[in-house]
């Protein structure tokens, strides 16, 4: 008698093959940028393989997150996946609209963030490999703790031990110490649930390697300040995030990838080559990019208007390196990184100043012509910062464009509607 393979495992196997295929295809290109971008697919494939191998060997693997110190799970050599990644990766999956519609049929409100709805869907329908333990991620918005409450309530994942580092609201020393202590408790939880032990020397190595990645990322972002900007929406930004915080945290492979990216970009900047032939409008995309349908309007923006996304929320680099000479500073550094450096969390969790400070800095540093606020329907805290951001832009003298879209669901505001909004806006400010 054969037992049916778990759907999550099956889907991870499909992913492993699919991304390996993307990688192989990309390496045939003569364009080095495509080859660099393609390596991300290899990293995804390898990450899937790590989980599948652990599953086959009966070893524990856990759920962790980009903002709850993945350096620790890496240092403990515990394979980890991120449930919340599922809706982001699924944007390219056929049938996503059906999945979104099914969340409504399940009884979730259509005004609930699609990323939260989809993650709940993946848990309730058992579509992700079931981890041995869950490190929860209960910030920066109201939806995340509710997702974890559903995990506890669910028939599929409800039995799994869970630890959720508790987030403070502000970024003062007291808050950092508090969260550092939460990370220590998290480590004790991981040791208990997996049997792995944390070696502080190994953690130091991982942190130092991740620091090297962050320094290279910073260097890369300095290069993006160039006029014309060497890359647009297609390379850099969110990829840097995915490599350094999800798929190659503290790995030499990741560092090497960053080095390649910097080398390529340097060459382009030296030659004065931009992402488009004639760069006319420098955009700051202040949220997550809609990776599932971005190809349906970004190339048009570049070709039609010479409008280039010079910076976006996930490509933004506010990271500070961690002082590894002192054990307590490692904990504090990881706490600060998780709470106040990582994108989306950094801006959305605390007071509105988090948005404004980044906005002002990026507009100035990158000579931004237009701030584009996609207004993702799920980001309620950002919706409440709308007026504050707009006023900040007025003070800076930079136009502020708001779209109001669902970055996961192309039906909410369609690519054609988005194009129309851009065309009208550019005409309105006299650049179209």
């Amino acid at each position: 008698m054969t037992t049916e393979e778990h759907r999550g495992i099956r889907s991870y196997k499909e992913d492993r093959e699919r991304y390996a295929g993307f990688y192989a295809l990309s390496q045939q290109s003569e364009n080095p940028e495509i080859r660099v971008a393609g390596r991300l697919a290899k990293f995804v494939s390898e990450a899937r393989d790590t989980i599948l191998t652990a599953h086959e060997e009966g070893r524990p693997f856990v759920n962790n997150n980009y903002c709850t110190a993945p350096e620790i799970t890496e240092a403990m050599d515990i394979p980890w996946l991120m449930l919340y990644e599922a809706p982001f990766m699924a944007v390219s999956v056929e049938g996503l609209s059906d999945q979104i519609d099914e969340t409504g049929a399940m009884g979730l409100g259509t005004d609930l963030c699609t990323a939260i709805r989809s993650s709940i869907y993946y848990v309730e329908k058992d579509l992700v490999p079931v981890p041995s333990a869950v490190i929860g991620f209960i910030f920066p918005c109201d939806g995340m703790p509710m997702l974890h409450q559903v995990i506890k309530h669910s028939k599929t994942w409800g039995h799994i031990p869970m630890f959720c580092p508790d987030p403070p609201y502000f970024n003062d020393d007291r808050s950092i110490d508090y969260f550092a202590n939460e990370l220590k408790k998290m480590t004790a939880f991981l040791e208990k649930e997996t049997g792995a032990k944390l070696d502080m020397d190994r953690l130091r190595e991982v942190v130092e390697e991740s620091d090297r990645q962050y320094l290279l990322w910073q260097e890369y972002n300095e290069l993006r300040r160039a006029v014309p900007c060497p890359h647009g929406y297609g390379l850099g930004g969110p990829m840097c995030f995915a490599v350094s915080q999800m798929f190659k945290v503290g790995h030499k492979d990741g560092t090497e990838w960053f080095q390649n990216l910097v080398d390529l970009t340097e060459e382009k900047v030296e030659k004065g080559i931009g992402a488009v032939e004639k760069e006319k409008i420098r955009l700051f995309w202040f949220d997550i990019m809609p990776s599932g349908f971005i190809f349906e309007f970004m190339p048009w923006l570049e070709e039609e208007f010479g409008a280039v996304v010079v910076m976006d929320m996930f490509g933004n680099h506010p990271y500070t390196t961690i002082d590894t000479s002192d054990e307590q500073e490692i904990w504090r550094g990881l706490a600060k990184r998780g709470l106040f450096d990582t994108p989306m969390v950094r801006q959305a969790m605390g007071p509105a100043e988090g948005f404004v400070d980044d906005l002002v800095r990026i507009v100035k540093d990158y000579q931004i012509d237009v701030v584009v606020w996609p207004g993702h329907m799920g980001h309620k805290e950002t919706q409440g910062t709308f007026g504050i951001m707009r006023e900040a832009c007025r003070e800076l003298g930079v136009p502020f464009m708001d779209i109001r879209m669902d970055i996961f669901d192309r039906r909410y505001t369609t690519p054609d509607q988005i194009k129309d909004k851009f065309a009208r806006f550019f005409a309105g400010i006299g650049v179209g």
């Binding site: 399940m106 009884g107 979730l108 409100g109 005004d111 609930l112 963030c113 939260i116 709940i120 929860g136 209960i138 910030f139 918005c141 109201d142 939806g143 703790p145 509710m146 997702l147 974890h148 409450q149 559903v150 506890k152 309530h153 959720c164 508790d166 987030p167 403070p168 609201y169 502000f170 007291r174 808050s175 508090y178 202590n181 939460e182 408790k185 007071p351 509105a352 207004g375 329907m377 309620k380 805290e381 919706q383 409440g384 910062t385 709308f386 007026g387 504050i388 109001r404």
Partner: protein
């Protein structure tokens, strides 16, 4: 006959619930008293009382639109903070000497951010509320209470001793006890008050000096003693959900035969179902423990869902409810997902459940009435 119709005590409370600046609050101010607005029921109002200040639970009673606030919020934000900010921008909250915010939800914390930038209010303070309620979080919240106490003491030039906090806790507990006595009357087959009136009484308790409120409620309880209501309802209902301070909404529910006999809302039973420990060595820790761990929580705190379902089921059984209405403000992620789980849990318990999305202002009630009517029909009542 409606026993509250001739009650002066009830009339006073009804006025307090239907206005922002009620006569009792005005008298307090005329006598030199100061008033602090707070944005969520998780804020420990006992600290304001201990400082000799009048706590005022923020609501947007009387608001008719959000034109001014719409420059700051979008239409995907909860309408409660939008109406609150609008009233503030119109100058309707000038009677406040301070406002205390808290990160109890994404909308409320942004209300504070926008308020801070656009409304001239003397004292402003923000509380960092944990997401969980374990020992470390209680310790954190105790410190937050201490910081709030010290900020109040400094800004209002008052000394706040532990005994002042204890006295405030006792006074607040006294009010809670009276409110529970009021709710106990609603267990009767023919309760002397309906859900609309009960909400009026609860809202009034958040807008006037506690001594005065407690005295009024004591009087009202005496008046209601032994009185029976008309009992002409079709179904006994419980309401669960977030902020509900508008008795007109409950009136609409009751107009089609659903008598609201209890609730699990933050202007209702969740405010008073539990007392704060009066004997604790550290009264600030007692406050932290109460607000985070002891009282029936809203979904804001992780790991409280099971307890909340148990609370709802128990209330349903104790008050002999036929069904539960789960009201949710539009765009509230917390109650949206909570109701998703509660729906499943109540189905397991055999308790009918109706989910209703609502806006802060009760305007067109036709759809609400139709849905409640259909719900009652579906229960065979």
């Amino acid at each position: 006959m409606d026993p509250t119709a001739s009650s002066e005590a009830f009339a006073t409370m009804a006025e307090a619930a239907s206005t922002l600046v009620n006569p009792a609050l005005q008298r307090w101010r005329d006598d030199g008293g100061r008033v602090i607005g707070f944005l969520c029921s998780m804020v420990p109002e006992e600290l304001f009382m201990a400082a000799g200040l009048l706590p005022f639970r923020m609501r947007a009673t009387g608001s008719t639109g959000t034109d001014l606030a719409d420059a700051y919020f979008t239409n995907l934000n909860c309408s409660f903070p939008r109406h609150c900010l609008n009233l503030a921008l119109e100058g309707e909250f000038e009677f406040l000497d301070g406002v205390v915010g808290i990160n109890s939800c994404d909308h409320i914390r942004r209300l504070y951010d926008n308020w801070k930038r656009n409304v001239d209010t003397g004292f402003l303070h923000f509380i960092s509320l944990p997401r969980q309620s374990g020992p470390d979080q209680i310790q954190w919240y105790t410190q937050e209470c201490r910081m709030l106490r010290d900020a109040l003491a400094e800004s209002f030039a008052v000394e706040i001793k532990d005994d002042d906090v204890r006295a405030a806790i006792r006074l607040a507990n006294q009010g809670r006890g009276l409110q529970r006595a009021l709710y106990a009357l609603r267990k009767q087959e023919r309760p002397p008050i309906n859900g609309e009136q009960a909400l009026v009484i609860m809202v009034a308790g958040t807008a006037m000096p506690k001594e005065e409120y407690n005295a009024l409620l004591s009087r009202l309880l005496t008046e209601l003693d032994g009185v029976q209501g008309e009992g002409d309802y079709r179904a006994r209902l419980m309401i669960t959900g977030g902020i509900l301070d508008d008795p007109a909404w409950v009136r609409a529910v009751e107009s089609v035969g659903g008598l609201v006999v209890t609730d699990g809302t933050c202007f209702g039973a969740r405010l008073m179902w539990q007392d704060i420990d009066e004997e604790a060595e550290d009264p600030l820790e007692a406050l932290a423990r109460y607000y985070l761990a002891d009282r029936p929580s809203c979904p804001r705190l992780l790991d409280t869902q099971e307890k909340r379902t148990q609370f709802t089921v128990k209330m349903c059984r104790d008050f002999n409810c036929d069904g539960v209405l789960g009201e949710k403000m539009m765009f509230c992620d917390q109650w949206d997902v909570e109701n998703y789980m509660l729906d499943m849990d109540l189905a397991d318990e055999g308790i009918p459940f109706l989910r209703i999305d609502r806006e802060y202002l009760t305007s067109a009630t036709g759809q609400l009435k139709t849905r409640v009517q259909a719900f009652i029909e579906s229960m065979g009542k």
